[in-house]
Every structure is written in structure tokens, then in C-alpha cells.
């Protein structure tokens, strides 16, 4: 057990290091952006005096490394600074939006992960059958279309024609949980269609990969049913690669939703991110990037740890 704990601690430390490097890259990247922030914000009223005053107010007259250290120091204390566009605390602004994004991702994950794993197991069980082929074609087609296209198709059929779900996912904190689930259904379905193929195919491939193992032959010769062999003997040993793919897709559900949020006018972090880029609200962009990066790193870390835990040799040492 201590071995696993040290391993987790190591990964965690490595994750923090990565996050630090990422913060540096974000800061430098934004530093390299052309154009002057103050002029963009002040617009018509940008006289040399106002620009200079504004720069001083924002601390932009200080050298970059001083600003970076100040920014990082603030971030470490949970203070992301203030939005340039509306003067609100960024942590407050992002908090609500990020919660919304996580909510949407969670709903999509709850639908897509069990669906993908079940389909993958079934495809492995009936491999090369009509079912296997058609499920492959369907999932591959859905992943091949751009997200906005899938989104508009769903809107057309499920919102406009059938009028089952709302086409605009307008949610706020005061809505009941059930109502919120109902309103995010279309973006969640869009995301599901986008991520299910990858996870399902990995599940199928990992299981089929194991079917040549001697212990699967043994299970056959023990007279076990096909479904028991697949679910009980192959699946537990195929978990590590499946977990990795699932987690990468979960990360995508959080950080890759920008387009889907825009299409459904969903008040998530992605939407805020796009708005802030347009408004040149640099502190918000920086903060969003950092949160995306942290999510990615954290989820990959989880995948690592779960893969380790799925290996009996590590979980039950000699």
C-alpha cells in the first residue's frame, strides 16, 4: 500500500510541476500577443495620458517577470485578479461558469461512459457480426462530423421537429436539478455522440486483444459461457487501457466543450473563454487556460492511479 501511496505522491508532484510550466507558457504566450491591451480596452479614449495611467493601474509598466510572480502569487491564494471587462472578481465569475461546465460534462459522462463500455463489450462478444459492424459504422460516423454539425442536427430533430428538448440550454443556479438536466440534454447528447466512438472502440479492441491469452482458453475449457468469459475474465484485465481512454475523453468533455457551449448558448466556462478572448479580457483568459490545464492534468493523474489500482500485481504485492 505504501508503494502505491508513494507512487501517487510522485505523480502528484509531477502534475504540479507540469502545471507550473503550463502557467509559464500561458503567461508568455499572452505576453507575445500582438497589440496593446490598454489601447484595445480604452478604444476611442486612448490618449497617451490615459493609456499610461491605465497601464500603471494594471501594473503593466512593471517588467514581465515581476508581473508573472505577482500573478502566480495571487493564483496560489485563489486570487485570479479582476476582469477588465466588468471589474468583477475573476474567481467569482469563473466559479459559477466552471460549475456549469462540470455539470454538463458530468451529465455527458454519465450517459456516454456506461454506454460506450457496454457497447464495446457487446461488440467484442459478437465480434464480426452485423451488430458489431453497424455499431462501428454508427459511432465512427458520429465522431467524423464536426461537433457543431452534430449539434445542429440534434436541434433540428429533437428541438425543432419533435420539440422534446429546448434548443437553448439556458440554466441558472436557482433551477431545480431535474429542470437543469432537462435543459442540458441536447448539449450532453452532442458530446456523447462525439466521445462514445473512441471509448467503445478501445473497450472492444482491448478485450479482443486479450482473447488469445492462455487464461481465456482456460476459461473456455472450463465450460464458461461467452458472456462470462468476456465480462469476468477479459474485461478486468483490459481495464488499464480503457480507463486511460475514458479519462482522456472526460478531460475533453471539460476542456473541449467550447463550441458546443457556444452553439447552445450554455453559460459555461467555454462560453466565457470565447467572450473574453473577443473582449481581450486577458486576466480571465489566463485564468480559464489555467483551469483547463489543471483539469487535464488532474484527470490524467486519476487515470494513472486507476490503471495502477487495476493491476493486481501492484495492488496485492507478494
Amino acid at each position: 500500500m505504501t508503494k502505491i501511496l508513494t507512487m501517487v505522491a510522485q505523480r502528484l508532484a509531477l502534475g504540479l510541476l507540469t502545471l507550473f510550466v503550463v502557467s509559464l507558457i500561458i503567461f508568455l504566450g499572452i505576453e507575445l500577443l500582438p497589440g496593446d491591451l490598454t489601447e484595445a480596452v480604452l478604444g476611442q479614449s486612448a490618449t497617451p495620458e490615459t493609456v499610461a495611467a491605465f497601464r500603471r493601474e494594471l501594473g503593466l509598466d512593471l517588467p514581465p517577470h515581476t508581473r508573472y510572480i505577482e500573478w502566480l502569487g495571487g493564483v496560489l491564494q485563489g486570487d485570479f485578479g479582476k476582469s477588465l471587462a466588468n471589474e468583477r472578481e475573476i474567481s467569482e465569475l469563473i466559479g459559477v461558469r466552471f460549475a456549469n461546465t462540470l455539470f454538463l460534462a458530468a451529465i455527458a459522462a454519465v450517459i456516454s461512459v456506461p454506454l460506450a463500455v457496454t457497447l464495446g463489450v457487446l461488440a467484442a462478444l459478437y465480434r464480426n457480426s452485423f451488430f458489431d459492424r453497424s455499431i462501428n459504422v454508427v459511432t465512427l460516423s458520429s465522431i467524423s462530423f464536426p461537433e457543431f454539425f452534430v449539434a445542429y442536427i440534434l436541434i433540428l430533430f429533437l428541438a425543432v421537429n419533435a420539440n422534446i428538448f429546448p434548443s437553448i440550454s439556458n440554466v441558472s443556479a436557482d433551477l431545480a436539478l431535474w429542470e437543469r438536466v432537462y435543459r442540458v440534454m441536447l448539449p450532453a447528447l452532442t458530446l456523447t455522440l462525439v466521445v462514445v466512438a473512441h471509448m467503445m472502440r478501445m473497450t472492444r479492441a482491448s478485450i479482443i486483444n486479450l482473447l488469445a491469452s492462455p487464461y481465456i482458453e482456460m476459461a473456455n475449457l472450463k465450460g464458461l459461457s461467452r458472456s462470462r468469459i468476456i465480462v469476468h475474465h477479459a474485461l478486468p484485465n483490459a481495464l488499464a487501457p480503457i480507463i486511460n481512454v475514458i479519462v482522456i475523453n472526460l478531460a475533453y468533455l471539460v476542456v473541449g466543450v467550447v463550441i458546443v457551449e457556444v452553439v447552445f448558448v450554455y453559460p459555461g466556462l467555454g462560453q466565457l473563454f470565447v467572450d473574453s478572448v473577443i473582449k481581450r479580457d486577458v486576466p480571465v483568459v489566463q485564468a480559464s487556460c489555467l483551469i483547463f490545464a489543471a483539469t487535464y492534468i488532474l484527470l490524467n493523474l486519476t487515470a494513472d492511479v486507476l490503471s495502477i489500482l487495476s493491476n493486481p500485481r501492484l495492488l496485492h504485492p507478494k
Partner: protein, 547 residues
């Protein structure tokens, strides 16, 4: 008809195969790998199937369960098990019979147990899934069987995962698993081949005991005639999917009728003449006080002192994990020793191969266990053998071509083999190419690491003879690493016995092989199966008496 005098009754016919044909697929075509075999097995009888690889013995064994491995198919004949035609039965019927009435024990227990589940759960699975027992009853049975098979701590060992128990214990746990539904027939597919001799004898004894007590019929598949002699009532000798000879076990071992059977029996009778060498002032290879470790802590070699005289064959023998291959790695500098030194012809060699000169490297060559992985499948034989010629000796293409042909001649292969790829060669031929590659460097010492272990017995014997001839002609020195005492007896001048990273005995062959032995040498020697069908019972009694 009982041959071992135990409680062992042979009854009516249980399994009958008539004209069994099985095909295997390669290159999109079906080839017959079993050509019309007739087999009859009665209740309580143990039938030995023996032959070299490719004989079809495993394929026939699992065909009795109506099962063909992926890429194989049963193409003709009938298999009738207790009145049920397994070739015509539905999948559902076959599934009900598998595990409950016919059980299988595989060669590698380590690979055939599912790593994700506890031993006892895998044991209980068969009776529970077949609806024969409840989980709790099955677990109780498992503990009883573990006890009968003399597994340590039988009440708790089942709650371990496969990687947590040793190879010999796993093999016994697998035998227990096969017995879980009290089957009428068990197929043992080389159950002891992957084990060390001292472990093999325990597993053999355990298997023989439970088979005898429960009066189960069994098909015992092996390539080792001495092993099958201990287990079987009747023996069928197979070759390339054909039956060569069939008969009562004792009868066949005493009076084999066919040449092929005689060859199999005669194998391992090859023996080098004894020669004594006077220890010289300056041995060719002098290993002084060498210790080596993987990582910083895991000490696998301790204080090894070894002198090898020119032109001699020194056999290093020990079981898996004894450090014999590590010793080879330490000598060649692949694993620089922690302490001690290696002297070649009186000159100290740098610890790591990276620091050695090309000439120092040239003097020490290696031949490996697996010719398949030791040869680059994308290189022609010409390139494989030609590389050391240009690398060490700087030959131009003309000289190289001439030398390649000489070397092929030395290893008794025709000249046109130079244009072949390793994939087109048999296992024995590949090993010959590896020998030629080692010889190409004109080495003083060749380290042979289990060079015959992956080969069939008849082929292995040819390789040993070739190595001996090359030594007689060229005076090359061999360091011969093996776990197989028969090989040691055949080829060595001197023997070094290793146990847990230390040398426990070393000396001239005669001196080591004649009693009194070191305790461990004695254990090793007495564990090697002999053709005598009473050998196993005899050894076990002797050991029991000694305790």
C-alpha cells in the same frame, strides 16, 4: 490392467476417437496437422501422448473436449465421449461437458490463471457456473484438495492471487482446479515442462497421487519419455500428426518396436569422453570474487570464483533464479559486477563491455536460448554471419563471402542457406546460425546460455554433437549454462553447481557426479526423471525414509 499396483481400476471405454483429422491454417491455406488418429481410453486409465513439437499431441488432447484452438478446425473423424459425439454436439452440450466432465491442466499455470482473480475464486468458478456446487461448498472442497496436493497453508493459499505463489504451487493449484467437478477425464498438457527438476518431482508426485486416488482417466501429454513412464499405463508415440507406435507403457520402454521410439529412448545417451586437464598457471578465463546485483540492492551473484582452462567445457548448472545467466552477463560485461574481476588470458577485462576493446569483445561470444529472438528476422543469414566478420576482422566482401561459406560448411548447412531469412529455417537450423555467428568472430570462449532448452530432444542432441565437433576441431572453450543435467552429463568436462547466486559445488565431471555429493547436488541429480517406471515411487519412498 494396473501397472503401478495402486488402487487403480480400468473400466469401460470412456473416450473413443476414430480417424481424427485436424487442420491448421497458415498462409490462408488449411494443412492437415493430425492425420487420422484412432484413440481409445478407458475409465481410470492414464494414456501418455508423447512426441516432439509439431506432433499434434496437444491438439489431439483438447480435441477430446470438442475444442480446436483459433486457426485450427476438426475436419474429420469422430470423437465419442461417454456416448456423446463431440464433433456433432451443440456448443451448449460441449460447454456443459467442459470443465465438469473433462478438465484441462495447461502447461504454463502462470499464464493460464487469470491474474485478476484469486485462486480459490477461479477454482470455485467451474462447479458454481456448472450448477454443481454452491460457492461455500466449492471453497471447502478447494481447501481439502489443496491439502491433498500438499500445498502449503491450504486453508489460506486460495485467497492469494496467482502472482503471489510459486510456479510449482500454481501448477498444483491448477490440478486442483481441474479436479473441482470430479471429472471423468483430465487432460494434462505438459504440466511440468516449465518447472525446475526439483519442483517437477513434487508436482508429478501430487498429480499421480490424486489421479490414482480419484480413479480419474487422464491423457498425459509430454515430450519427455521419462516423465510419461512414471505416469502412464499406456503410451502413444506421435510424429507430425501420425501415430508411430502404441502400447503398454512398461512394454514399450523395455521393447520399443519403431525406430523413432528407439531414437526418443536413446536420446541423452550421448556422452563426451572424460578428459582430465592439469590446472595451468594462467587459466584462459579467471573469475575472481565476483558479486553482481540488479539495481543497487538485489544481490544475485555472490563471491563467484571460477577458473576455466583453454579448450575445456565448463557446465554451469542450477535452477531458475540461481544466477547462472547473470554470471554470463557479468563475464561479458553486460552487467558490470559490483566487485571482483574477470581476467582473460591473464589480462583484466574492464567491468563494462562499453570499456572493452574490440579484440577483448571478440574473444568472448555468446549463444542464446531463443534463436528466434536472437536473430534479426529482416536479415539474411549472409548478413547475420557476415556482420562479425567485417566488424571484428575487417574483411572485405570477397573474403567475407568465402568465410561465410566455410562457416556454413562447419555448421553442416548447405551454401544456399546464405540467402535465406531466419523465418525460413527450423529451430535447430536457427540455432546453428547462431553458432556460426559466434564462430565468425574467431572467439576463444563461447558462452552457451541454455542453447538446447528451446529445442526438441533429437534436435538438441544434434546441436550438442556439433558443438563438440567444433571444439575438437577448433579448440574453442565453452561455458555451458543449463538447467538440464542430461545436457551437463553429455557435454561437460567440469561442472559448477549454483544455488541462490553462489557456487555450491565445482570440480571435474566425474568428481561431481560420483557420490558423495553436496546435499543440493544430490537433490538435483536424484530429481532427474529416469526411464524406469518405478523411479518416481522409489525416489519418493527413499526421501520419505530419509526424513
Amino acid at each position: 490392467m494396473s501397472t503401478d499396483g495402486g488402487k487403480h481400476e480400468i473400466g469401460e471405454v470412456l473416450l473413443e476417437m476414430r480417424g481424427l483429422r485436424i487442420e491448421g491454417q497458415s498462409d490462408e491455406q488449411w494443412h492437415e496437422i493430425v492425420n487420422g488418429i484412432d484413440l481409445t481410453l478407458r475409465r481410470g486409465e492414464v494414456l501418455g501422448l508423447i512426441g516432439e513439437s509439431g506432433a499434434g499431441k496437444s491438439t489431439i488432447g483438447i480435441a477430446s473436449m470438442g475444442f480446436a484452438r483459433p486457426g485450427c478446425r476438426i475436419s474429420g473423424g469422430t470423437i465419442v465421449f461417454d456416448g456423446i459425439d463431440m464433433t456433432a454436439a451443440s456448443e451448449e452440450t460441449k460447454r456443459e461437458i467442459r470443465g465438469s466432465r473433462i478438465a484441462y491442466v495447461a502447461q504454463s499455470a502462470a499464464a493460464s490463471f487469470n491474474p485478476a482473480h484469486k485462486l480459490i475464486d477461479q477454482y470455485s468458478e467451474t462447479p458454481v457456473q456448472h450448477g454443481i456446487l454452491k460457492a461455500a461448498e466449492a471453497e471447502q472442497d478447494a481447501k481439502d484438495l489443496y491439502r491433498r496436493l500438499q500445498l502449503p497453508d491450504p486453508d489460506n493459499i486460495g485467497y492469494r492471487y496467482p502472482h503471489q505463489v510459486s510456479g510449482g504451487q500454481l501448477q498444483r493449484a491448477m490440478t486442483a482446479m481441474a479436479m473441482s467437478c470430479k471429472p471423468d477425464l483430465i487432460i494434462f498438457d505438459e504440466p511440468t515442462t516449465a518447472l525446475d527438476v526439483t519442483t517437477q518431482i513434487e508436482v508429478l508426485a501430487a498429480i499421480k497421487d490424486v489421479v490414482r486416488q480419484s480413479n480419474t482417466a487422464a491423457i498425459y501429454i509430454t515430450h519427455d519419455l521419462a516423465v510419461v513412464a512414471q505416469m502412464a499405463d499406456r503410451i502413444m508415440v506421435l510424429r507430425y500428426g501420425d501415430l508411430i507406435e502404441e502400447g503398454d507403457a512398461r512394454e514399450m520402454i523395455a521393447n520399443p518396436k519403431e525406430d523413432y521410439t528407439r531414437q526418443l529412448l536413446a536420446v541423452r545417451t550421448y556422452k563426451k569422453e572424460d578428459t582430465a586437464a592439469a590446472p595451468s598457471e594462467r587459466p584462459l578465463l579467471d573469475i575472481q570474487d565476483v558479486s553482481a546485483a540488479y539495481g543497487k540492492t538485489l544481490l544475485v551473484l555472490q563471491d563467484i570464483d571460477l577458473k576455466v582452462e583453454r579448450g575445456r567445457t565448463v557446465a554451469i548448472v542450477g535452477e531458475s533464479g540461481s544466477g547462472k545467466s547473470t554470471l554470463a552477463r557479468a563475464i561479458t560485461g553486460l552487467l558490470p559486477p559490483l566487485k571482483g574481476k574477470v581476467l582473460f588470458d591473464g589480462e583484466e577485462l574492464p567491468a563494462s563491455y562499453k570499456a572493452r576493446t574490440r579484440d577483448q569483445l571478440r574473444h568472448l561470444q555468446m549463444i542464446y536460448q531463443m534463436p528466434d529472438t536472437a536473430l534479426n528476422p529482416r536479415q539474411k543469414v549472409r548478413d547475420v554471419i557476415g556482420r562479425p566478420l567485417s566488424f571484428y576482422l575487417g574483411m572485405d566482401s570477397q573474403a567475407r563471402e568465402k568465410r561465410i561459406l566455410e562457416l556454413l560448411d562447419m555448421i553442416e548447412l548447405p551454401a544456399d542457406f546464405a540467402d535465406r531469412y531466419p523465418g525460413e529455417l527450423s529451430g535447430g537450423q536457427k540455432q546453428r546460425i547462431c553458432i556460426a555467428r559466434a564462430l565468425a568472430a574467431n572467439p576463444e570462449v563461447i558462452i552457451c546460455d541454455e542453447v538446447t532448452s528451446a529445442l526438441d530432444q533429437l534436435v538438441a542432441e544434434e546441436i550438442l554433437k556439433l558443438l563438440q565437433r567444433l571444439q575438437d576441431d577448433l579448440g574453442v572453450t565453452y561455458l555451458f549454462i543449463t538447467h538440464d543435467l542430461a545436457t551437463v552429463k553429455a557435454i561437460s568436462d567440469e561442472i559448477v553447481v549454483m544455488l541462490q547466486g553462489r557456487i555450491v559445488a565445482q570440480g571435474e565431471k566425474q568428481e561431481i557426479l560420483t557420490p558423495p555429493h553436496h546435499e543440493y547436488t544430490e537433490l538435483l541429480l536424484s530429481s532427474v526423471p529416469e526411464m524406469d517406471p518405478d523411479w518416481l515411487d522409489g525416489v519418493l519412498e527413499k526421501r520419505k525414509a530419509a526424513q
